[in-house]
């Protein structure tokens, strides 16, 4: 109901606006909700959108494709009732491998190399040699046991059937293909299946000519994806030793060019920066999304650690870090910021210069560099809006003051969108602040990292044009798709006589290459990698290459003609006989390194001195880009990266952290700019959930794509997301989204100016921001740190709705708990389960630490066999994620009435704050879902979990209707197809009717058996049931882990069997989301154990239950977010959070509409259907007066 009350005491009110929730602020999930459009109301009112229950007709083919690929068949359970199941075989090992115990996972330490260098240290869960899940390696310095979204999703890439071209034939895998002379239907040359032997023979023959003394490799070019691998560096040396004239060109489409060049200016050699944010009190992000695209798990963890408030402290003022951000797009960093300035890319640069100048001046007056910077940063911003300029000036000054006031505890993080001189200036400023060696570390780049990607690709294009390239080897790169548009690389590539592509999967480059080879996934090959902090990890294979691929080092070793081409031997040679040899007892050290998965940095990080003169000189000689009316930002997708993750269904279906868009990349534009440019919005006839097509033109190159109104983006800025519109990546990613690489040129790798013309038509966008809407009820709470410090120990004693005395803490006082009218509960105390025996599982989610990265969602998907449903199904509201990350906007009328004469408030046109809240099943003690299930398929366990019994569920969906948190998910289709092809009774009869006795339709069967399914089931977690059509599912608190831990604790002898003792040590069991969370925002454990982390979190003054007034007693509770604004910076007026109805609070005020009849019984949210309530009729009568819903009427009949 769109007119549902925000608060139980405001029954009968039409909400003036959406979600006048707590903290005196209005939160809204979308512009539609803000405007309360009819489409939104209709959407929110339905549990699922119209037609969601009907069989999908239009797009059956796509659906089948998806089903085959990301979802597949379960083990065949007996489906014909009563029949003897088909014969199952038990295939035991012939020789037992060491350490493998069937039924127990084996964790192996390895590392996932990151594009461009660096890695994440991981533990891979394997079941009898089958990798199923990625966890962070607790010993690894980068991960510390947590993982990013991409690491979690990388397991699915291993099982991607499109890694090899054509139909997957398990007996005869085509791992190498060769281009033929004939052209296929799609206009591309047809490819001939080949093999490594043929390829090797070809290379021996064809590359022999480069050995000649007059050649020495001239004309041989290598375009390689950047990697920080000592062994691969050794292979490069071998290649260059054999062919000294050959050129080795490391290339990444999205690379931090300015960071590399800037550090070269500052330090004389390229250096990588690494931030230790947990030591920083003041963090300034200048166009840097260090919590998202420009950072990793280490930055997120450090930042979140600095957000933790020590509530035990007796000091009057609590402390935590403060984040300032200046950015064009609204990123996760901007969402986490205490102060955020949005500006066009060119303006971000100017503001960055000014901020550095201001800071440098305050550190040492009369700095020449500061003067140069200030001069370069001069000029009017924001289209000459005086008020905004004034506020920005104040912002800059106060941020600089804050930095200087916190010596050795502040840091400025520069983003890749800035120019090199500015990045160097930031390094100089950080040095002046004493940040070097404390909050920022520098490591000199080695190997591939030293090279500029832009120079590599430009050099290659130039060489091809000059006909210097005789043979080109492309290793782990896709230049045909992602090279800068002005190089016209696709055409150039085809003009090279010999092209060899070796990639993880087929791509746009490999379909044009003379030879296309399959590269081994990191989970199936030996390798090594250096992390950002200088530590090393050996990459271990979990399985033989599934598709017969070769790893980088094996591929290169063969090309170089080495005697040793085995991956293991190559890697081991690096570590036991190469330059990195362990000093003593190499063999033991090697084993230790394999076991631990990490070897600490070999050299201590240096703190190089900034060459101030050089920085000032470069700064003075450079001209900042002029501000244009319309500026475009190119950014990699937070999910599919530069496009390499495009065939990963999990990533495609993961809602973007800010826009909440799945399966698409519309151009993002601020509502105000959209209005100015004449882009249609919902008020002007745009179809709901769609984006109007626009033509974007940059330097004469045009692309047509839809546009999406996204609040919080800088005005005059359009954000274009790279990585979509792939044409040859596989069945999942082909044709998803729009390719914006054709707009990106060598002079505009990060930003550009251009024009946008609204066009005709629109594209449906599967955006989940309005799904699972709580329709404005109070969900999110936040407060300022100062207020919290001052009043955190206050409590308020109230008699709650159900007649109990409660002492409300700070967070609870922010919500409706203070004034919920009396009510009855259907859960009579004596009938309730008493959860007095441990363990009692509970969860606490700290929204102060959560950055919204969504690693939890993917970790959950991997752990719990959650299917991918596809774009059309997401549009129908059928996405299956068990833990969603809700994102709300809240207006921040920064410019107020002065701006344009009208207030920005409540329009989404101005500045917005972002609120992020992960929501999973709350495991309510009084679970509303359980009371309505007709078949007891969902019921309560003795340890406080709300259990879901799939085999009992008949699919009425009553539970989902009755769930106030909307966390239940329904299998509308048989995402897990069953197969019945063994021996069973009646096979002879059935076989006569159905071909081969199969019970699944032939077309689908063909797809599953010969297409993808067979391989993808290998990813499934064997401890979790694969659900079938018509079954409800939801978060289980990872009950499989909990149950296994119960057994394990007993086997380990750590089971506490004395009364009062916790049954297992705190942290003995972790849920998948908790384990993955880089910011460690999730605590899970026994709430009866007073010393457990979750109990401590729940005792915090920041802890509250969502929708507490419903008396469902959720086990998952939240810690409110604290903001830490600088009091010196002018802020919009924030209402007193304790007066959260927007004025003095009196009960009568809530009941204007029915004040005459209102006897303050409150509105009945639940019915006394059993038990001996004194006056049920009176209650029902009161309820009828309130006119709540028809359920009351039927209950009246009962009474």
């Amino acid at each position: 109901m769109s007119n549902a009350p925000q608060c139980p005491s405001s029954v009968g009110h039409e909400p003036a606006s959406p979600g006048l929730a707590t903290t005196g602020r209005a939160y809204w999930s979308s512009l539609d909700e803000l405007a309360q459009t009819n489409e939104f109301k209709e959407f929110a009112q339905r549990e699922f959108p119209a037609f969601a229950s009907e069989m999908l007709a239009s797009d059956r083919r796509t659906f089948l494709k998806l089903m085959g690929a990301s979802v597949a068949l379960a083990g065949a359970a007996a489906t014909v009732p009563g029949c003897r199941r088909p014969d199952h075989r038990i295939l035991a090992y012939s020789k037992d491998p060491e350490h493998v115990i069937p039924g127990r996972p084996l964790y192996i330490a390895s590392a996932m190399p990151l594009p461009g260098g660096g890695c994440e240290g991981v533990l891979v869960e394997t079941h009898t040699g089958r990798p199923t899940k990625i966890e962070g390696n607790p010993l690894h310095f980068i991960n510390r046991g947590t993982t990013s979204v991409r690491a979690q999703a990388s397991i699915l890439d291993l099982y991607d059937p499109d890694r090899v071209p054509g139909i997957l034939d398990v007996q005869n895998i085509t791992c190498v293909t060769r281009k033929s002379d004939s052209v296929g239907e799609d206009g591309l040359p047809e490819r001939i299946a080949s093999g490594w032997d043929e390829f090797d023979a070809y290379i021996n023959n064809a590359f022999h000519r480069f050995d000649a003394a007059d050649s020495n490799g001239a004309g041989l070019f290598f375009l390689v994806g950047k990697a920080s691998s000592p062994t691969r560096d050794a292979m490069r040396s071998r290649i260059l030793a054999r062919w000294p004239q050959a050129e080795w060109l490391p290339y990444e489409p999205v690379d931090d060019e300015s960071g590399r060049d800037g550090s070269e200016i500052a330090f004389g050699a390229p250096h990588a920066r690494r931030y230790d944010l947990d030591k920083a009190k003041i963090i300034v992000a200048l166009g840097a999304d260090f919590l998202g695209d420009d950072g990793g798990v280490a930055e997120t963890r450090g930042f979140a650690a600095g957000r933790k408030v020590n509530e035990e402290s007796t000091r009057p003022q609590l402390s935590m870090n403060r984040l300032y951000a200046i950015e064009s797009n609204l990123t996760l960093t901007g969402a986490a910021a205490d102060h955020r300035l949005r500006a066009k890319p060119s303006e971000v640069e100017r503001l960055a210069l000014r901020l550095c100048a201001e800071t440098l001046r305050r550190v040492s007056a009369g700095s020449a560099m500061a003067d140069t910077a200030a001069r370069q940063g001069e000029g009017e911003l924001f289209n000459g809006d005086a008020h905004r300029n004034e506020l920005a000036e104040e912002w800059i000054v106060e941020a600089a003051k804050d930095l200087v006031a916190n010596p050795r505890a502040g840091v400025i993080v520069g983003g890749p969108g800035l120019s090199a001189p500015t990045r160097a200036l930031i390094d100089a400023t950080n040095e002046a602040l004493g940040a070097g060696g404390v909050t920022v570390y520098y490591t000199e780049m080695t190997g591939d990292e030293r090279e500029s990607s832009l120079r590599s690709i430009t050099r290659l294009a130039g060489a091809i044009q000059a006909r210097q390239v005789a043979a080109l080897v492309v290793l782990g790169a896709n230049p045909v798709y992602d090279a800068p548009a002005d190089l016209n690389f696709a055409g150039l590539f085809q003009s090279v006589p010999v092209t060899i592509a070796c990639n993880d999967s087929q791509n746009e480059t490999s379909v044009h290459a003379l030879w296309s080879c399959n590269r081994a996934h990191y989970l199936e090959a030996w390798g090594d990698v250096r992390a950002a902090d200088g530590s090393h990890t050996i990459i271990q294979p979990m399985t033989e290459p599934l598709f017969g691929g070769r790893s980088d080092i094996e591929f290169l070793a063969r090309l170089a003609g080495s005697d040793v081409t085995d991956g293991y031997e190559l890697v081991k040679a690096t570590w036991t006989s190469g330059p990195l040899t362990f000093s003593a007892n190499a063999d033991k050290a090697w084993k230790r390194m394999l076991h631990d998965g990490v070897l600490g940095p070999r050299t201590a990080p240096a703190t190089p001195r900034v060459n101030a003169g050089k920085v000032a000189q470069e700064l003075g000689a450079w001209t900042p880009a002029a501000t244009a009316d319309l500026e475009f930002v190119f950014k990699p997708c937070a999910k599919v990266s530069d496009g390499r993750g495009a065939n990963n269904g999990w990533l495609q279906e993961l809602p973007d952290s800010i826009t909440k868009i799945t399966w698409d990349n519309p151009a993002l534009i601020s509502p105000a700019t959209a209005k100015a440019l004449g882009v249609k919005d919902l008020q002007k006839g745009l179809k709901a959930h769609s984006g109007q097509n626009v033509t974007v033109t940059i330097a004469g190159r045009s692309v047509v794509l839809p546009v999406w109104l996204s609040p919080g983006i800088a005005d005059g800025t359009i954000v274009l997301t790279l990585g979509y519109g792939r044409t040859h990546c596989g069945r999942i990613g082909d044709g998803v989204g729009f390719d914006v690489y054709p707009l990106r040129a060598t002079d505009s790798m990060r930003s550009a100016s251009g024009t946008l013309t609204p066009g005709s038509g629109s594209v449906e966008i599967a955006c989940v921001q309005d799904h699972w809407s709580l329709e404005g009820r109070t969900y999110y709470r936040e407060a300022d740190l100062d207020l919290f410090s001052e009043r955190r120990s206050e409590t308020q004693t109230v008699h709650d709705a159900y007649g109990r005395t409660k002492h409300l803490n700070f967070a609870e006082r922010l919500g409706e708990e203070t004034h919920t009218p009396t009510n009855e509960t259907i859960y009579q105390e004596d009938q309730r389960h008493h959860y007095d025996k441990g363990p009692q599982w509970g969860m606490a989610i700290d929204m102060n630490a959560c950055t919204g990265c969504a690693a939890c969602t993917i970790a959950c998907q991997a752990e719990n066999n959650i299917p991918v449903v596809g774009k059309s199904q997401v549009l129908n509201g059928r996405e299956m994620h068990w833990i969603r990350v809700d994102r709300y906007y809240a207006d921040r009328p920064f410019t107020g009435a002065e701006h344009g004469g009208a207030s920005d408030a409540q329009t989404g046109m101005g500045d917005v704050d972002v609120a992020i809240q992960p929501v999973n099943c709350m495991q309510c003690e009084n679970a509303p879902c359980e009371t309505v299930c007709p078949v007891n398929a969902t019921s309560h366990g003795p340890h406080g979990t709300n259990d879901m019994v799939y085999n009992r569920c008949i699919g009425t969906r009553y539970c989902a209707n009755n769930c106030p948190y909307k966390v239940r998910r329904f299998n509308f289709f048989d995402f897990a197809t069953k197969r019945l092809n063994g021996d069973y009774i009646g096979k002879s009869v059935l076989g006569g009717v159905v071909k081969e006795g199969h019970l699944i339709p032939p077309r689908l069967r063909e797809h599953i058996e010969h297409g993808a399914g067979a391989i993808q089931i290998m990813q499934y977690n064997p401890d979790v049931t694969v659900r079938s059509r018509g079954v409800m599912e939801k978060c289980t608190y990872c009950i499989q882990r909990v149950n296994w831990a119960r057994t394990e604790a007993k086997l380990d002898g750590v089971w506490g069997d004395q009364p009062g003792e916790p049954v297992m040590p705190d942290g003995y069991v972790k849920t998948a989301c908790q384990q993955a969370c880089p910011s460690q925002a999730i605590a899970f454990g026994d709430i009866l154990d007073p010393n457990s982390a979750v109990s401590k979190a729940k005792r915090s003054a920041r802890n509250y239950s969502m929708l507490d007034y419903l008396n469902v007693l959720p086990r998952t509770t939240y810690g409110i977010r604290l903001r830490n604004p600088n009091p010196a910076i002018t802020r919009p007026e924030v209402m007193d959070p304790f007066q959260h109805h927007g004025g003095a609070h009196e009960d009568a005020g809530h009941n204007q509409n029915n004040s005459a009849e209102h006897h303050d019984e409150g509105h009945v949210m639940s019915l006394p259907v059993f038990g001996n309530h004194p006056e049920p009729r009176a209650t029902i009568a009161a309820a009828l007066q309130h006119g709540i819903d028809t359920m009351i009427t039927s209950a009246g009949g009962l009474a």
Binding site: R84, I90, K95, R952
Partner: protein, 243 residues
Amino acid sequence: MAIFPKWTNSIPAFAFLSAAFGVVAVVSGFWVYATPKFWEAGYQPEQPISYSHQLHAQQLGIDCRYCHTNVEKSRIANVPSTNTCMNCHTIVDAQRGYLKKATAVEGESVHFKSAALQALRSYAASGDPAPWKRIHKLPDYVQFNHAAHLQAGVSCFSCHGRIDQMAIVYQQNPLSMKWCLDCHRSPAHNLIDKTQGRVTDLAWVQEQLNQDGYATSSGSLLAEKLSDSSRGAPPTHCSACHY
């Protein structure tokens, strides 16, 4: 004049009785024949190798855990690898002491040349796994943990019966949900004092459990100890097995 002959008067009664009988037959037939007890218990497929538990476990006295090595560590009681079989069948002979009771094969290597073991030898030679047919199979939505049951003191006997007496293994118990719950609700009938270390000695276990009043004496003591403060009591809630 009657259009219908008189005997037609009995048609309604006959029809009624037949219908009633039919309903009873269908219901009781379904009741009996569509239950796990009928369909599951007694399943005795032919195996690729004619392995006899009776010979190995009972006559030779090999402990269950010699082959099912992981039963105390894992939810799965593994089927042994071919190598485990070959431990004896290639190199060890009766006099070297692996076997408690020497039988007819005394003095020779264990059936090294036996024709009945042709299949085993060929699997060992080729490295292909023997395609054992699975007998005890729970549906995919049921999770069973061998280690947890042994830890609690439930013997192999309780679910698998006297498997040491089976020449060809068959399923003795229905393994239905009711059958599981019967024991979970009153475990005293099936708990064995595991400190004696004879949980896998099926004859001894059977003898113990069949003593008069076992469930009310030793069994109930064990059950009480297990469920002390309800921490280790056999769970009966849904998510104990279904997830």
